[in-house]
Symmetry: C2
Subunit: 343 residues, 2 copies
């Protein structure tokens, strides 16, 4: 009961060799059915359970992939994780889930731990703080296949599965413009991250297309937490001219702004129309419901995992395939925060 039973225990009680036990447990054709049966029976009787530490060490394969996301509680990331798990399990892989909590220091440590545990590959969406890549380059040099999803870095030879954030930002902004908005504020998020740069670029492109001048004071950079939305809304309302639209680079900050507007008796969407980004479940529930950009999280997880597993199975002969960037479409979900505007 105390000490786990090993193949040697089974071998000894049956008076056969451990190698035969190992082969039987792996259903090798080199062991006769009769012995297999005896071994299986004894294994069950003793409550044998394979020691994966030993097995993986010997095989130098763990059948495990590591996943690092900023926060597991974000709906987008948890749907990506579901997609990853489904695909991975189907291929016989396990998944180690980790969260960086948006901290570079933690991200570094997690990468190190995953590598030390010899995961076969890593899927990664970087933290908001990640502006140095030494830990990622280290992973690359180390020969561990990995892949970015959603939030990526420019590292040569590393593939990514991304959302078309530029298009998303463009769609969100143009939607506001087509609904009559002229002075459109934008919560942009940390511009160190490509996803936020791209959303902002889409915002500017839409303005440009519709010949609306870009005004720097309408662009609010922040961490996109709920309270950042409150503060941003406050700043925008204090401008000398009237805001009539807001595109926030995520839903959470948009909701913060909505709360502030409600307090100030600013009507959404009649006074100010709002579009968020990410389609958090809460966005469909609040009142007014929030127009947003939906990202196919589950699908991203599936695709990223498939690509990673490909890379893993190809790894030894290495330099074969080039890095490729897969870009998925996002879609605008129109809701009450930008609909039927009466002004």
């Amino acid at each position: 009961m105390e000490n786990k039973t090993t193949i040697h225990d089974i071998a000894k009680t049956l008076k056969i060799d451990a190698s035969t036990v190992s082969r039987a447990l792996n259903n090798s054709p080199r062991v006769s059915q009769k012995t297999k049966d005896r071994i299986m029976a004894k294994a069950n009787e003793l409550g044998y359970q394979r020691n994966l530490l030993a097995s993986n060490l010997r095989k130098s394969v763990t059948n495990t992939i590591g996943v690092i996301v900023p926060r597991i509680s974000r709906h987008f990331f948890s749907s990506v994780i579901s997609g990853i798990e489904e695909t991975a399990y189907d291929s016989g892989y396990n998944v180690m889930i980790c969260q960086s909590l948006e901290q570079l220091k933690r991200e570094r440590k997690l990468v190190e731990t995953l590598l030390a545990n010899r995961v076969d590959g890593v899927l990664l969406s970087v933290s908001m703080e990640t502006d140095e890549f030494d830990h990622l380059l280290n992973m690359k040099n180390n020969g561990t296949p990995f892949l970015f999803f959603d939030r990526h870095c420019e590292i040569e030879g590393v593939s990514s599965v991304l959302i078309d954030d530029f298009q998303g930002g463009f769609d969100a902004t143009e939607h506001l413009i087509l609904n009559g908005c002229k002075n459109i504020g934008h919560f942009s998020g940390p511009q160190e991250l490509a996803i936020y740069r791209n959303r902002t670029a889409g915002y500017r492109k839409a303005l440009e297309k519709h010949k609306i001048p870009y005004r720097p004071e309408l662009l609010i950079r922040s961490g996109l937490m709920e309270n950042d939305g409150v503060e941003g809304a406050k700043t925008l309302l204090s401008l000398p001219y009237k805001l009539d639209g807001l595109f926030s680079a995520n839903d959470i900050a948009a909701i913060g702004a909505m709360k502030y507007f409600k307090n100030e008796d600013v009507k959404v969407p009649d006074d100010i129309a709002i579009v968020g980004f990410s389609n958090e479940p809460v966005s469909g529930i609040i009142d007014p419901s929030l127009t947003t950009i939906d990202q196919p999280g589950f699908q991203i997880g599936q695709i990223a995992t498939k690509l990673l597993l490909d890379e893993i199975s190809r790894a030894p002969n290495s330099n074969a395939a080039m890095a490729k960037t897969t870009i998925l479409k996002s879609s605008l979900i129109e809701r009450d925060s930008s609909r039927n505007i009466s002004h």
Copy 2:
């Protein structure tokens, strides 16, 4: 670059023994400072990284605890996980996070995988489907310390860290009664789980205390998903007498009901007052905001981890401490869905 460097590689290039390298890397006093420096330098140069598979196998300790929750995306569980991670990291432990997705089959497989990976202990909140315990008994017999949090099973000798669900259910119901509700519906959740049984018992106790007869038709059992809330609301509205209060065993189903009531032009709280359970972030954001029972998730995680680590460090001499049940208080958060009722 391709093959990871080992202590033997370091040993060979420095013409010393691998055991010395190992001791140096573990900062053993048996190695001179001079040699340590040489070894460290070479280790960095070669990009050495300890192979935890080998190390853990040899030491038969992984410094890792496994965590199984029904869903990582639930706010309550992700705050428990934060508490677990904080406490575990502080003690030098890693955490493997897994989600059962409320499926017994998956829970079984996850337990097996964690055991096969020889985690030092497991923290577990069972799935809604878990009505057989063979996998848990197996873990117990196997000698792996584990502990329930929030959702537990009656297994002798296994400790739990729980919320006082009875009190929570009582508080929620009494709150409705004190606000004038007489016909109070209840979404009870699967009664196989103790937490839901206890919430329901609290509901009945509050009715009894205030001499309100219990009516079975007011009790709706379901899976507590959002759509279950919609269906439950529909059923309750079709009763021959007028419902004026609703206590849902979680927030999600309560929100489903609110949506349905809004559609049917039933006013919350004036026609029907509502109290949920769990304090999901969305509950403070929706309109009207949802009165709910707040559970100290982070604290549960901290306490459960501390207890588990105690048990792990005590494990060899085993049968020492008895199983204990720690019960934490929940607290009612009063919001608009049950406040200032005018009827």
